[in-house]
Symmetry: C2
Subunit: 148 residues, 2 copies
């Protein structure tokens, strides 16, 4: 029976990210699979102030990406997996996650998924988009159960 060989886990540095990464790590260990952590800095071209799109701020994107690299590194060191592959991309999260899954030949994507209330509906849309676009299995880890 085919086990998972490479797992891609999406990290957003929310307070619940650790739960998601821990779950991915556990599955990777059980399957003796590779693990890649990805964080996507949302492309600022997509940020609107009212009806007016703000000008792109490529420098800000890059600064956020550099910062995210440091956060990923700190997270993997804390989890005792400093050698896990880490990537930071700038773009639309669902698309970058799915693209990276193909690039790394991942056969499982692990992603946090929020409940359906209020703001969480927006936050959950990345998991939803990944589910739609992905060519591989997707594990949506439910986080923020208490509406936090």
């Amino acid at each position: 029976m085919a086990d998972y060989k490479h797992i891609l886990v999406a990290v957003d540095f929310s307070s619940e990210s650790r739960v998601v990464v821990n779950k991915a790590l556990e599955i990777a260990r059980r399957n003796k699979a590779g693990l890649t952590l990805i964080h996507v800095v949302e492309y600022t071209g997509a940020v609107y102030a009212g009806d007016i799109p703000l000008p792109e701020d490529l420098e800000l994107d890059q600064r956020l990406a550099d910062q995210a690299k440091g956060q990923l590194k700190a997270m993997t060191e804390e989890l005792g997996i400093p050698d896990a592959a880490q990537v930071v991309e700038i773009g639309v999260p669902k698309r970058e996650i799915v693209r990276m899954a193909v690039e790394r030949k991942a056969d499982l994507i692990v992603i946090g998924s929020h409940g359906r209330h209020g703001l969480q509906l927006l936050l959950g849309s990345t998991a939803n988009g990944v589910l739609h676009l992905s060519e591989c299995d997707v594990l949506a880890v439910r986080v923020g159960k208490n509406g936090a």
Copy 2:
């Protein structure tokens, strides 16, 4: 680290159902978790002929449910897990699946998910709905990769 304790797997008797059930079974074994198979007979009240809803056919629903029970039984016997819990419900698939997950205290739902092309978009909507409604983790197993 918390393992999964009870896994609910949704079965639609498509040709790919076996892949999905096998994956759920493998996860159940690794986690020493309980396993419940569920099939939902789509409530015929939801079937429309053009713009005109057909009258409900509760007798047909019941006949389909009885038939599904036999199919589930045959499937579990073939897989060597005749003692796995099996339920057949009549209703809206995503709602019945999520309801049963709560009832059985499942902490993981395993469900097949089709690609996003053509008819598969419709078929994939149950996985999507479950992802939205569920309070527990959801593993969407990608089936029908070749557009079959």
